[in-house]
Symmetry: C2
Amino acid sequence: MGAESVWSVDPRTGERRGNEPVAVVSGPAAVDAAVRAAHAALPALADRARRAALLRAAAERLHAAGPELVAAADAETALGAPRLTGELARTVFQLRYFAGLVDDAAGPGGFLDVRRDSADPALAPPRPDLYRVKVPLGVVGVFAASNFPFAFSVPGGDTASALAAGCPVVVKAHPDHPETSERAVAALRDAAREVGLPEGTIGLVHGFEAGPELVRHPLVAGVGFTGSPRGGRALFDLAATRPRPIPFHGELGSVNPVLVTGAGLAAPGAGEELARGLAGSFTLGMGQFCTKPGLVLVPAGAAGDAFEKALADATAQAPAGVLLDARMRDAFLTGFARRAGLADVQTLAPAGPAATPDAPQAVRAGVLSVPARAALRGSHEALLEECFGPATVLVRYADAAEADAVLARLDGCLTATLHTPATDPDATARLAALARFAGRVLFGGWPTGVAVADAMHHGGPYPASTSTSTSVGATAVERWLRPVSFQTVPEELLPR
Amino acid sequence: MGAESVWSVDPRTGERRGNEPVAVVSGPAAVDAAVRAAHAALPALADRARRAALLRAAAERLHAAGPELVAAADAETALGAPRLTGELARTVFQLRYFAGLVDDAAGPGGFLDVRRDSADPALAPPRPDLYRVKVPLGVVGVFAASNFPFAFSVPGGDTASALAAGCPVVVKAHPDHPETSERAVAALRDAAREVGLPEGTIGLVHGFEAGPELVRHPLVAGVGFTGSPRGGRALFDLAATRPRPIPFHGELGSVNPVLVTGAGLAAPGAGEELARGLAGSFTLGMGQFCTKPGLVLVPAGAAGDAFEKALADATAQAPAGVLLDARMRDAFLTGFARRAGLADVQTLAPAGPAATPDAPQAVRAGVLSVPARAALRGSHEALLEECFGPATVLVRYADAAEADAVLARLDGCLTATLHTPATDPDATARLAALARFAGRVLFGGWPTGVAVADAMHHGGPYPASTSTSTSVGATAVERWLRPVSFQTVPEELLPR
């Protein structure tokens, strides 16, 4: 009996691509082999200069392979060449960015977070010489996301930050882009070989069962995950119930509320501009962003009505498109229809199938509207939860108390956005209220687009994240390190 | 039906103290009330100057109440006035230390960990203005330890670091010192009132069932725990299986190995000095330290034999003493006898009852010795695990490979100690090997005594800790914070 095949599928048609599978499902032995090979690479990765070289070589090779990578990713995800070209550029930038962090790791503000104390026998208790530094956790398991075949997948932020920390990686490929995954891991492994690191530094496994196998493996020391609440929670539970539990840094979904105040709609043309901006943001990448604004609080009354109309118009003009796979398409259409069918919910723009000859699986975006008091009913909970895909829900509130009541019902979020003038006397209080349940708070603008930056935080209270960490930006590397204090160790014997 | 009573017990006699209970068991309603009162204090604690004032006022009041606190703690724990006076001084120092960290929180290296990025539209992806800062998690549940009625209990490091972070606290008192807990919380609440904070800022609950109740409470956002592997793991599991899981920072036990090399015993008198030092360390506080050296790797041969003899002599001279409670006394005597009865285990000093008229429950310290190859047998696993109380196990190794094999079998540890000359050519490699499973690595000296310092790390791989955090030192405060990024927020609207 041979191993099960892994096929690449064209989401535009739902058909398999080519006559050959692109990989085979990884059984327990294959997962074990990948983890052991990664573990064997740990000592070699202790050399920081080599780690930085690996990240730069990987960036170089991914950039060089750009056309082939983008073509494969577009064929598998239908995200389109322009978006995927941009995503690959981001991924290349991110690898170089983490290489720079490795260069600076031992300096002030560097991620080794070195702290020193000199002996002081007069203190109570007496203080010895102490040197604290961070060390790599060990092998990191990475679960690739469906919606970012580069930036949150094989060569993405989890992999880059783990390698920067000195942790070898085994990636569980997402079934929506196995060919892209194979091409990307080949580039990474070539880069490893080029800089004299073992190929096992980066492993790749395929298949549903490989996921739990990876999380349970005794040599896996931490996990990064981007995906759905259901899948993420199941793996979180596995990580927590191991004989030796390990950190599970999961990003599980977010509704990303936007609060538009009356004053935010007051300026001439403000409503139309916001409506255009929102339509662009919630349909970006066919709404398949973890930061998609999925719930927009809009005041009741004429200005809000005009905003609704402008949004319906802008949405009607958004091009139809294809979702990542058939399961997501079904979940999107079913989820939208279920919400649309709730009492007092009005459909401003109907999501639905929008087949073309080239893309029989295409869909169009949708917008719903509901009064806040209806949204607060127990029966209407789905309106306050993420609907993955190009849909958003307007919640019309009569007063600030109603808006606050809706916000108080939300789960933890990656982002929350406020649209109000800077002169709003309540602006500070509103921002503070949004920070209570979100990891990134925007004043104006839209939450889609997550900069790779020192001050970025991409995470939030559960279920946005399963930990207090970020998966994007400089501090993402902290997830894969633990501190060690060296006490009264002679200078010449301290780790570099 | 009234609430169940909580009595203070004299461990020297095993009898109840006084004619009145010191508290009542906290039922679900009492736990809920304490958590809600703490949650209501969150906004007031946002004022950092007030937090610092609270910590300083608490230090002042605990210092002033020193004689009464020490008398109560000695009566309940038998740890002795000198040790408890020192522990209280440490606790007072620790509160002031965290007050200083609050003063400096917003500055460079401060725990708010502020990071800023200015907009750069030329990057891919473009970077907006970003301001990242850390905010308090919410109400923190603290589980007091048996063995440190001050420093790791009501007014201890978890409480001090949580308050420093801006998190109100509800402490689950340890049943070994309920009177001390009541006195300490009164001092803390008086301090809160003095600085204009609600008394609910610090709550106290009693009773076994109050523990799970606290961990499950929806308004509890994080937990600090110091205690046994069994109790800690049960609570960790509860925290992980909540609908919204919360961070559980538990310290669950550690065997704290010491590696003595042949060269470490070579200098004249070195063995005798090490033996005296070890005897002092493993019997300190009747061996009831989480950092007690419980396993000592000693080379086979004449120098090791002389060390054994010197240790047996030093242990015989150690005074008998009383353990924290009857359950621990039973577990210690049973655990020692079980280990002593294993094949090829030699008893160098017999632990056992050592009653005096004043302290009928007193015990004496014990030492076992076993060849490394015997210790590696599956049947002998208990020798590689913590035995709480004044006992240590010498493991005699024939060569470095045997010593390494024993170290490789150990669970994660809080500390690991190396005794070898600085000229040992393998010293660096040995330190690195110890850092693989320990959170603090000592070159010489003994692991008991944990300085409150910027560079301290008191934690280690599971089960030493359930997370990568420390419960002592400056970075302990990181456990109770999460980052938030503010994007394109005008300067004047940013949180202070």
